[in-house]
């Protein structure tokens, strides 16, 4: 569903009650259709799959330098650089491998909730409470003032919660607290497409890697994750949805896990799910078997963002304890 038209008045014969009845019966019919195809559970299909042998994942790097909560991070396609943004308004570009800080930008607002690295590695995008998403071209000259070349691209009516480049540096996808997602042309700042479908704050978005590259998921406060053709907010369970069979196929939760998960990402093969939680831990789940393989300690406050590196050799976690950690 792309941009939606303005609401129109009630037609004759319609009333809130009739529409609600129709919604309920359609919903019931959809459930019936889904149930007809529901012939097997994930754990049954995965029965013959070998167990994952013990993982020895450890912190390999600790990136210190932010003065306040780190809210978001993104990997560069070169598999070693990353960009991170924090509550104090700073955006830092790191070479995670050598721990060098390559660039630091001070945003004019606090709570920079979203940041993204451009596919070419030549720019970063970020935004937050300024309701905008700006693109900063990077340079090889460390002394260059990046703020001078800053380009304001996206404009929302409320805070920016997520941003991501599409397949090139020239388009930006954003999600916002105003309940919408939007696609922008970086060069001109033009709004290309707008996606309305959430009834509350949209908190995160993620592009799906695919042949057509046309889909993305957005997660919001309304407890819905929408899949758009062109991540849920902190809920205690992580859920896996099968888009082809059109149903939820697995829930990753444990009684001993009390606190919500804020961010998830899959390992390269899709077998492992890394999830960052509000109780400062990271849990590693077996996607097929449904059990938790291990729990990783190290952060001293909430884990706000978890992302696997482009070649799957490691994953990075950003935390409210002002640090980032790289695990392998």
């Amino acid at each position: 569903a792309a941009a939606q038209s303005r609401p129109s008045a009630l037609q004759s014969g319609e009333s809130l009650a009739t529409l609600k009845n129709e919604s309920d019966s359609l919903k019931k019919k959809l459930e019936e259709e889904r149930a007809k195809l529901h012939d097997v559970e994930l754990n049954q299909v995965a029965e013959k799959v070998e167990l994952v042998s013990a993982l020895s994942i450890r912190t390999r790097r600790v990136l210190k330098g932010h003065g306040n909560k780190v809210l978001c991070m993104d990997w560069c396609k070169d598999k070693r650089r990353l960009v991170s943004s924090s509550q104090d308004g700073k955006v830092i570009v790191w070479d995670g491998y050598t721990l060098n800080k390559e660039h630091a930008v001070t945003m004019p607002c606090t709570w920079v909730m979203a940041c993204a690295y451009a596919p070419s590695g030549c720019a970063v995008a970020c935004g937050g409470l300024d309701n905008k998403c700006s693109v900063y071209p990077l340079s090889l000259d460390k002394n260059e003032n990046l703020a001078a070349k800053k380009k304001s691209v996206a404009m929302h009516t409320n805070y920016l919660s997520g941003c991501s480049f599409t397949n090139s540096d020239m388009q930006l996808l954003t999600s916002s607290g105003d309940g919408t997602c939007a696609l922008w042309d970086v060069e001109s700042g033009q709004l290309l497409q707008s996606f309305h479908g959430h009834t509350a704050d949209v908190l995160s978005l993620n592009l799906a890697p695919s042949e057509t590259g046309n889909t993305f998921v957005s997660g919001g406060c309304d407890k819905k994750a929408n899949v758009w053709d062109m991540l849920p907010c902190a809920s205690v369970s992580c859920r896996l949805y099968d888009l082809r069979a059109d149903r939820e196929v697995a829930v990753y939760q444990k009684d001993s896990i009390i606190f919500g998960a804020s961010s998830v990402d899959f390992s390269l093969s899709g077998r492992l799910l890394f999830a960052g939680y509000n109780d400062y831990t990271i849990n590693v789940w077996d996607v097929l078997k449904g059990n938790r393989i291990s729990v990783l300690f190290g952060h001293e406050n909430r884990v706000s963002c978890v992302k696997v590196s482009p070649d799957g050799t490691s994953f990075a976690s950003a935390s409210w304890d002002t640090s980032l950690r790289i695990w392998a």
Binding site: L16, V49, T98, V236, S256, V287, L288, E300
Partner: protein, 480 residues
């Protein structure tokens, strides 16, 4: 006790749902159950005796037993209980952690438990600090002094009321029995340390920014939303679905196919750069290498999408197509990608070039697609937009995927690639070598440098593949 006031609903101030509270409260109740819970003892503190004191190790032992978790998890959860203010430490009252030893703790009274509804108000805190000021005769802890100074400034207009309330509470406190007073003081102090931690330290109750929508209120769905939902449901019902066995089977197959390529499940050859601080794995897998690794070449065979996603794979595929004289399909697909993901301003120009090169009758790199798709595409090019080539692009992609790709995998080009592929030995660094590696981490090549090189290559390739203007070439030769 201070009187709580309902926070005025000013629109944009909703705290995120705190699901965890109910579960924690259930645990707290169980922990204090007379039969199955923890038994506190009396503890002498200064001159008074405090009842119902428990040690950290007892709490953790109880959690280990109750929740069936590991030692580390129980300690982490214990710390959460202290951080949220359900249990408070008697010694080191400012450090909100659970120590697995004889450190003393008490259960916080439910009155002071964190809740979804009430927020710890600044006014209440000011009253508390003023009261402490009276008691301790002006000596507050440094962080409390900071908070006090700050509040004195911005709550100045209410200061008379605050001092009055503080005095009342102080007098009421004096009339209690000493042991009760001490316990109450401890509880209240613990509450405020959780809710007003020293500046620049973290509070577990911190939740980030406010939400715009109240998460506790049930959504009122308007008639228009119902209408949209109905359309959505109808579309969803009509959407083609597959059986779970089919799609889940495909998921399991995918995971199985890639399991040896997942660095978390199978070792990287020669080693994972993050683990050994040796980046050979990355240098072996850059774009411009002559020989590729076995794993990389194998991965190209998984799907056409994989082959195209790896630039080196795409290059190899291009050299195969050149031999077959059918490079125009891939060239068209790449050009269409450039159009789709490029800047909006360039769309019209790119569309014109693409039409001239690939679609026009007699075009130098004419692509062979069915008449209907060609017709629709050409018509669409009158008013080009970024998705105008989608139909043709999909057709060409599927052609390559279903036919060319499989011929490539059977071709001498690919077989040669497989034969010459490297299979690096697993690294086996000693401790000393690992330390040295860590000291000499390579800087690699900056992505901006790589990008600039690629741009140069692209420019050269564009000139090389441009339709040759025979007449111009002839006249150039004539002029020589």
């Amino acid at each position: 006790m201070t009187i709580r006031t309902i926070r005025p609903n000013r629109g944009q101030h909703y705290r995120p749902r705190m699901h965890c509270l109910q579960k924690i409260e259930a645990h707290m109740v169980e922990m204090q159950d007379p039969k199955s819970g923890l038994k506190g003892a009396e503890q002498k503190l200064n001159v008074t005796t405090i009842p119902h004191v428990i040690t950290g190790q007892d709490i953790i032992a109880w959690l280990l037993n109750k929740m069936k978790v590991t030692q580390e998890e129980a300690e982490a959860y214990g710390t959460m209980l202290v951080a949220y203010g359900y249990i408070y430490p008697l010694q080191n009252h400012r450090k909100l952690v659970m120590c697995n030893d004889g450190s003393l703790y008490r259960f916080q009274t439910p009155y002071f438990w964190p809740t979804q509804k009430w927020v710890a108000e600044d006014c209440d805190y000011a009253i508390y600090l003023a009261k402490r000021n009276i008691r301790k005769k002006g000596v507050l802890e440094p962080f409390e002094q900071e908070h006090y100074t700050h509040l004195h400034t911005w709550l100045n207009h209410k200061w008379d009321f605050i001092v009055m309330q503080a005095t009342e509470q102080y007098k009421a406190g004096k009339e209690r029995k000493k042991p009760d007073r001490v316990v109450l003081d401890c509880q209240e102090r613990a509450y405020w340390i959780v809710n007003r931690p020293p500046r620049r330290t973290h509070s577990a109750l911190d939740y980030g920014t406010d939400r715009l929508i109240d998460p506790t209120v049930e959504e009122k769905i308007s008639f228009d939303q119902h209408r949209r939902m109905n359309i959505f449901y109808q579309q969803a019902i009509m959407r083609s679905k597959v059986k779970s066995s089919v799609s889940l089977g495909a998921l399991v197959k995918f995971v199985n196919t890639y399991k040896n390529h997942d660095p978390f499940l199978a070792p990287c050859l020669p080693s994972n750069p993050w683990v050994t601080d040796n980046d050979t794995y990355w240098t072996l897998n850059i774009r411009r290498v002559d020989q590729c690794t076995k794993m990389r070449v194998e991965r190209w065979s998984f799907s056409f999408f994989e082959l195209l996603s790896d630039q080196r794979g795409r290059d190899d595929f291009k050299s195969f197509l050149k031999k077959e004289f059918s490079g125009e399909n891939l060239a068209f697909w790449e050009a269409a990608e450039e159009l789709k993901w490029g800047s909006a301003a360039a769309i019209a120009t790119k569309a014109a070039v693409i039409f001239k090169t690939f679609l026009a009758p007699g075009a130098p790199r004419w692509i062979n697609i069915d008449g209907r798709t060609m017709g629709l595409t050409v018509k669409g090019l009158d008013h080009p937009h970024r998705y105008v080539l989608d139909g043709a692009q999909t057709h060409v992609f599927l052609l390559m995927k279903k036919d060319t790709f499989f011929r490539y995998l059977k071709s001498p080009v690919y077989k040669e690639m497989q034969k010459r592929a490297l299979n690096p030995e697993l690294h086996n660094f000693s401790e000393a070598q690992l330390e040295q590696n860590a000291r000499n981490r390579s800087l690699g090549v900056h992505p901006i440098t790589v990008w600039e090189q690629e741009e140069e290559e692209r420019a050269k390739a564009a000139i090389a593949s441009a339709p040759v203007d025979v007449k111009a070439m002839m006249s150039k030769i004539d002029r020589k």
